[in-house]
C-alpha cells in the first residue's frame, strides 16, 4: 500500500485534517477542553500520512506529477478535481504538514482567556488551523487551474478568521486589509482564469494545467493574462509594492498564524509563479522578467532596510520575509536552472527559518506580553536556550553557510549571476543587510545587561523545545545535506525552464555540494 500510486494519498491528506476540524467543532461540551489534543493528534497523523505518501514518491521522476488523482468536478466549466505533486509541490506539502503540528503545539497557551471561556476560542482556532492545512495541501497539489484558484481564494477565509478573531488590538484592520488585498488580486486573477479557459481547448478538462500549457495565445492576450495571474501571486508573495498587508497581518496575527501565513501561505504566490505563470505564459514571462527582476531586487533591499528600522519584532520578521521573497522571485525570473532550483528550495527553507523565528518571537511575546524590541534586553543570560535557538534561526535567515537557507540563497544568486549580473550584484547587498538586521536584533533583545523586569523570565519549556527543535534540526540537516531536497527540485526546474523556452547554457547537474557545480557557468543568454 505504501507504494501504491493509485491510493488517493493527496485526498487523504486533505480529508483527514478536514475531518479533524469537523471533529473538533463537533466535540461535545465536556470533551472540548481536549480540542487541542485532538487537533495535534490529527495533524501528527497527517504528518505521518504525508511522510508515507512521500516515500511512495519517485524522486527520480520528480519532474512529473505523481500521486495523481483526477475526477471530473464541474464538467460544465471544464473543471476537474485533479491532484498531483512534482518535486516542488511535494516539498511544500511536506513543509506544510510539518509546520502545522508545531504551530498547534505552540498555540497551546496562546490565549490567556482560553480557560475563562472553557477553551471555546482555542477550539475554533485549532479547527481553523486544520482547515487551513487541508487547503494548503490541496493548493500545492492542484493540477487544475480552476481548482488552484478556488483553493487559493478559499484559503483566505480561515486565515482571515485566524487573524481577525485571535489577533492583537488592530486585528480587525489587519484582517480586512489582508482579505481585501488578497481578494482583489485573486479576483483579477479570476478574470484571467476565465479568459485562459476560453482560449484553451475547452471541454470538461479544459482547466487542467497540462491542457493549458503550450497554448498559442495572441501576444497581447498572453501578456494581459500573465499580468492578471502575476498580480495575484505578487500580492500573495508579498512583493514590493503590494506587500503592505503583510507587516500588519504578521504583527497582529498570533505567532502561529504568522508562521503558517508567511511560512506556507505566501509560498502559494511564488509557487504559482513557478508552476503557473512561467509554463502557461512563457512569452509574457520573458517579456516581463526584466521588470519583475527589478521589483524583486527592490523587494530584497526594501524589506531588509525596513526590517532594520522596525521596533516590533513581528513586523521585523515580516519585513525580512519581504526581502526573502524578493530572493525567491528573483530566482524564478532569472531563468536559469540553478536559480529556479534555488528559489524552489528557498521556499522550503524560508518556511523553516521564518517559522522558527516567528514561533520564538511568539514565545517571547507570550512571556513578556509585548513585541516591542525595546522592551527586551539581556535575555541571553536568563533564557539561554531561547536565545540560542533564536540565534540559530536568525543566522539561518541571514543565510549562514551550514544552515539550509544558505544553500538556496547561494543558488539563487549564482543562477541570477549567470543571466543578470547587475541584479545579482545588487541582490547580494541584501545578504549584508540581512546580517545587519538579524544581529542587531539579537543584540538588542538578548545581549547586554538583564533588565530587571525580565530577570525571572522562564526559559523554553519542554513543549516549546519540542516545537522549535524539529525546525532547528531540519535547518541543520538541510544545510549540511541538501541533496534530497535538491533532488526533488532539480528536475522540475529544468522542465519549467524548458516550458519558458529559455535554454540554459550550462544546466547545473551538481551534486550535494552545490557550490562547486554552479560557480563555473557564467554565460549569458
Amino acid at each position: 500500500m505504501l507504494n501504491d500510486q493509485s491510493f488517493p494519498w493527496l485526498t487523504t491528506l486533505i480529508v483527514v485534517p478536514l475531518l479533524g476540524a469537523g471533529l473538533v467543532w463537533a466535540l461535545p461540551g465536556a470533551a472540548r477542553r481536549h480540542a487541542r489534543t485532538v487537533a495535534v493528534a490529527v495533524s501528527l497523523l497527517t504528518l505521518v500520512l504525508a511522510v508515507v505518501a512521500a516515500l511512495g514518491f519517485d524522486t527520480a521522476a520528480s519532474a512529473t506529477h505523481q500521486l495523481e488523482e483526477q475526477v471530473s468536478w464541474i464538467p460544465a466549466f471544464g473543471v476537474s478535481y485533479a491532484l498531483g505533486v512534482d518535486g516542488v509541490g511535494l516539498a511544500l506539502v511536506l513543509l506544510s504538514v510539518l509546520l502545522v503540528p508545531l504551530v498547534l503545539l505552540a498555540a497551546w497557551r496562546e490565549h490567556p482567556d482560553a480557560v475563562a471561556t472553557g477553551g471555546e476560542r482555542i477550539r475554533h482556532y485549532v479547527a481553523l488551523v486544520l482547515v487551513l492545512e487541508a487547503f494548503m495541501v490541496a493548493v500545492f497539489a492542484a493540477r487544475d487551474v480552476f481548482l488552484f484558484y478556488v483553493l487559493f481564494e478559499a484559503m483566505l477565509i480561515p486565515v482571515y478568521f485566524m487573524i481577525g478573531a485571535f489577533g492583537g488590538l488592530q486585528r480587525r484592520y489587519a484582517a480586512v486589509k489582508f482579505l481585501l488585498f488578497s481578494l482583489a488580486g485573486g479576483l483579477i486573477m479570476l478574470a484571467g482564469v476565465i479568459a485562459l479557459y476560453l482560449h484553451g481547448p475547452g471541454g470538461p478538462e479544459g482547466f487542467l494545467v497540462e491542457n493549458l500549457v503550450g497554448l498559442d495565445l495572441p501576444v497581447t492576450t498572453e501578456r494581459l493574462l500573465f499580468l492578471a495571474f502575476f498580480l495575484a501571486f505578487a500580492i500573495k508573495a508579498p512583493m514590493w509594492p503590494v506587500h503592505t498587508w503583510l507587516p500588519d497581518a504578521a504583527e497582529q496575527a498570533p505567532a502561529g498564524t504568522s508562521v503558517l501565513l508567511v511560512g506556507v501561505l505566501d509560498k502559494v504566490g511564488t509557487f504559482g509563479m513557478l508552476t503557473l505563470c512561467l509554463p502557461l505564459f512563457p512569452e509574457a514571462s520573458r517579456w516581463a522578467a526584466p521588470v519583475i527582476i527589478v521589483l524583486a531586487v527592490v523587494s530584497i533591499l526594501y524589506g531588509a532596510l525596513l526590517a532594520i528600522g522596525q521596533e516590533d519584532l513581528m513586523r521585523l520578521i515580516a519585513y525580512t520575509s519581504v526581502s526573502h521573497f524578493g530572493f525567491i522571485v528573483l530566482g524564478i525570473f532569472a531563468f536559469s536552472s540553478v536559480s529556479i532550483q534555488g528559489a524552489s528550495l528557498y521556499m522550503v527553507n524560508h518556511g523553516l527559518s521564518t517559522g522558527a523565528l516567528f514561533l520564538l518571537a511568539g514565545f517571547l511575546v507570550a512571556r513578556r506580553g509585548t513585541a516591542r524590541i525595546a522592551d527586551y534586553g539581556g535575555l541571553q543570560k536568563v533564557t539561554p536556550v531561547l536565545a540560542g535557538t533564536f540565534l540559530v534561526a536568525g543566522l539561518s535567515a541571514l543565510s549562514l553557510p551550514g544552515l539550509s537557507t544558505f544553500v538556496s540563497e547561494f543558488l539563487v544568486l549564482v543562477g541570477t549571476f549567470t543571466t543578470n549580473k547587475p541584479a545579482a550584484i545588487v541582490a547580494t547587498l541584501g545578504v549584508v543587510l540581512a546580517a545587519l538586521y538579524v544581529l542587531l536584533t539579537y543584540q538588542k533583545v538578548f545581549t547586554g545587561p538583564v533588565r530587571d523586569d525580565l530577570a525571572t523570565t522562564p526559559d523554553l519549556s519542554t513543549r516549546e523545545k519540542w516545537v522549535v527543535g524539529p525546525l532547528i534540526a531540519a535547518m541543520l540537516v538541510l544545510g549540511f545535506y541538501p541533496a534530497p531536497a535538491l533532488d526533488l527540485v532539480r528536475a522540475p526546474a529544468d522542465v519549467t525552464l524548458e516550458q519558458v523556452g529559455v535554454t540554459d547554457a550550462a544546466p547545473a547537474h551538481g551534486s550535494a555540494d552545490a557550490t562547486t557545480s554552479t560557480t563555473d557557468d557564467g554565460s549569458d543568454q
Binding site: 466549466f77 478556488v150 478559499a154 483566505l156 480587525r172
Partner: protein
C-alpha cells in the same frame, strides 16, 4: 358574419405549476372568509406549503417533456413553456416555499413579522388590543401565493399583454405586503407607498413601451415582434423606443440603476421575511422576462440597445457596491448588495450566449437561496428594550447592533457569514460559482471588459461584507450594546429555511455540476 366562436384549448398540464399556485391563493381567500379564526393560520400554511411543493413537483413532471422537445408554445402564444421558463418556475416555486417558511415563523415570542391588524393605526389602542388578542393577518399567505403565481407566469409569458398582467399580479400583493410589518409600521407603510408609486410609474413606462411595440409590429406576441423586426422597415424608432421603455419597467423590478431608488427604502421598511421573498423571487421573475426579451426581440437592435444595457450593468454594479459600503442599516446594506447583484446578473444577460442564459439561471438560484437565508437571519436578530427583563422588540438592523454576534450565537453568525461570503463570491460557495458562470459567459460573449469591471467591483464589494463579518466575529459586544441585541429562537420554520439556504449555498459552491448540467440543458429559449 365571422364563423362561430371556437373555444380555445387550454393545456392545463403545461399551466399546472402556475395554476396550482394561483388556485391555492384563491382557496386561501376562501379560507379567510369561511374558516374559523384559530384554524386559519394552520390551514393557510398547509395550503401554501402544499401548493408551492406541488408546483415544484409539477415542474419536475413537465421537465422531461420540455427537455426532449425543447418546450412548447401554448394558448396560441400566450405562454411559452420552454427550458428557462420551466426552470425559473421551478426555482421560484422552490424559493417561494423557503420564503413561506420564513414568513410563517412566529419565533418563540409567538408573533410573526406582520402586523396583527394591518388596518389599525400604528400606535393606537386598537393595535395594542389586536396584538394582545393574538390576531394574525393570515391574508399574507394567499397574497404571497398570488405574487408567486404572477412571478411564475412572468418568465413564461409569450406576449406583452400576459407579461403586463403578470407584472401587476406579482406587484400588487408585494405593494401590500411591504406595508404590513409588525414593528416600525410607519416605516413599513412608507415603504409600501413608495414602492407602489414608483412601481406603478414604472409599469406605465412598460405599458407605453408595449404600445409602441404593438404599433411597430401590429401584435403583442414576442414572436411576432421578433419576426417583424426583419420585415417591417422604416419604423426602427418605434421598435427601439418600445424596447427601451419595456426594459425600464423590467429593470425597475430588478432594481437596476438608475431605476433602483425604491430598493433600499422598500427593503428596509418591508417585513423582513417579505424582503427576502421580494429580493429573491422578484428578481428571478423579472430577469426571466428580461432574458426572453433580450434574447428574442433585441438581437436585431443589438448595437442600439446593448451598449445601454452594458452601461446599466456597469452602473448597477458600481453604484450598488459603492453605496452599500456606507450603509449602517443591515437591511439597506443587503438592499444595495442586491442592486449590485442585479448588475452581475445583467452581465450574464448581455453576454447573448447560451451559456449566458444558463449562467443567469444559476446565479439567480444561488443568489435567491442565500438572500432568503440572510434575511431570515436578520429577522431573528432583535433588539431588547432597555431595563431588566426587557421585552424583545423590533429587529436590530443597525450594523453596530450585530457586533459580537459570532461569540454569542456562533452557528447563526456563521450561517450569516457564509451567506455574505457567497454574496462576495468567495470560492466554494454558490456565489462564486454563479459569478464565475456569468463572468465566463460575458468573456465568451466578447465582453471581457465587462467581466473585468465585474471582477473589480466584486473585489470592492468584499469590503462591506467583510465589515459585517468583522463586526460579528472580531468585535467584542460593547457592554450595553450587547445586552440590547438578542437572537430569538425560531419556531422551527426559519431554522429549516436557513438550513436549506446554508446547504444550498455550500452544495452549489462545492458540487454545482448536476445543477449546471441541468441548466445547460434548459438554456434554450423558444422565440
Amino acid at each position: 358574419m365571422t364563423p362561430a366562436f371556437v373555444a380555445p384549448e387550454i393545456p392545463w398540464a403545461h399551466l399546472l405549476p402556475v395554476a396550482i399556485v394561483l388556485v391555492a391563493g384563491v382557496v386561501g381567500v376562501l379560507v379567510e372568509a369561511f374558516a374559523p379564526q384559530r384554524l386559519r393560520r394552520a390551514i393557510q400554511l398547509t395550503i401554501a406549503l402544499l401548493a408551492t411543493a406541488g408546483a415544484v413537483v409539477a415542474v419536475a413532471a413537465l421537465w422531461a417533456g420540455v427537455r426532449d422537445t425543447g418546450g412548447t408554445v401554448v394558448l396560441g402564444g400566450s405562454m411559452i413553456i420552454d427550458g428557462p421558463a420551466l426552470v425559473l418556475q421551478g426555482v421560484l416555486a422552490l424559493l417561494g416555499l423557503v420564503s413561506l417558511l420564513v414568513i410563517a415563523d412566529r419565533t418563540e415570542s409567538g408573533e410573526d413579522a406582520f402586523a396583527p391588524s394591518a388596518s389599525a393605526v400604528p400606535g393606537s389602542d386598537y393595535e395594542e388590543l389586536a396584538r394582545r388578542k393574538g390576531l394574525a393577518q393570515t391574508e399574507v399567505f394567499p397574497l404571497v401565493l398570488f405574487a408567486l403565481g404572477g412571478m411564475m407566469i412572468f418568465p413564461a409569458a409569450g406576449d406583452l399583454l400576459t407579461l403586463f398582467v403578470a407584472l401587476e399580479v406579482l406587484s400588487l400583493p408585494l405593494y401590500l405586503l411591504s406595508g404590513m410589518a409588525r414593528r416600525r409600521r410607519l416605516l413599513s407603510q412608507e415603504a409600501s407607498m413608495k414602492y407602489f408609486l414608483l412601481g406603478a410609474f414604472a409599469s406605465a413606462f412598460f405599458l407605453f413601451g408595449t404600445a409602441l411595440l404593438y404599433g411597430f409590429a401590429g401584435s403583442v406576441r414576442l414572436a411576432d415582434i421578433a419576426a417583424a423586426t426583419s420585415t417591417v422597415v422604416g419604423m426602427d424608432a418605434l421598435l427601439l423606443a418600445g424596447v427601451l421603455l419595456l426594459m425600464v419597467g423590467l429593470l425597475f423590478k430588478v432594481g437596476a440603476v438608475p431605476f433602483h431608488s425604491w430598493t433600499p427604502d422598500v427593503y428596509q421598511g418591508a417585513p423582513t421575511p417579505i424582503t427576502g421573498f421580494m429580493a429573491a423571487c422578484t428578481k428571478i421573475a423579472a430577469f426571466g422576462a428580461i432574458l426572453r426579451i433580450v434574447y428574442v426581440v433585441v438581437p436585431p437592435l443589438e448595437w442600439d440597445v446593448m451598449p445601454l444595457l452594458w452601461a446599466i450593468a456597469v452602473l448597477t454594479m458600481v453604484v450598488g457596491t459603492v453605496v452599500a459600503i456606507v450603509q449602517t442599516d443591515i437591511k439597506r446594506m443587503l438592499a444595495y448588495s442586491s442592486i449590485a447583484h442585479a448588475g452581475f446578473v445583467l452581465v450574464g444577460v448581455v453576454a447573448l450566449t447560451s451559456s449566458g442564459i444558463s449562467s443567469v439561471l444559476f446565479y439567480l438560484l444561488a443568489y435567491g437561496l442565500s438572500t432568503i437565508g440572510a434575511f431570515a437571519i436578520v429577522s431573528l436578530v432583535r433588539e431588547v428594550n432597555a431595563g431588566p427583563g426587557g421585552a424583545v422588540v423590533a429587529e436590530a438592523t443597525h450594523v453596530s447592533q450585530w457586533s459580537g454576534l459570532g461569540q454569542r450565537h456562533p452557528v447563526l453568525a456563521a450561517s450569516f457569514a457564509l451567506f455574505l461570503l457567497s454574496f462576495a463570491g468567495i470560492p466554494l460557495t454558490a456565489g462564486f460559482t454563479g459569478k464565475f458562470a456569468v463572468f465566463s459567459a460575458a468573456v465568451e460573449g466578447g465582453l471581457t471588459w465587462l467581466a473585468v469591471v465585474g471582477v473589480v467591483v466584486s473585489a470592492a464589494a468584499v469590503f462591506f461584507y467583510a465589515r459585517i463579518i468583522v463586526l460579528m466575529f472580531f468585535t467584542d459586544p460593547a457592554g450595553t450594546a450587547g445586552e440590547t441585541t438578542t437572537v430569538v429562537r425560531s419556531e422551527g420554520f426559519t431554522t429549516v429555511a436557513i438550513a436549506l439556504g446554508v446547504i444550498g449555498t455550500i452544495l452549489l459552491g462545492v458540487l454545482p455540476s448536476p445543477v449546471l448540467d441541468l441548466l445547460a440543458d434548459a438554456a434554450k429559449l423558444i422565440p
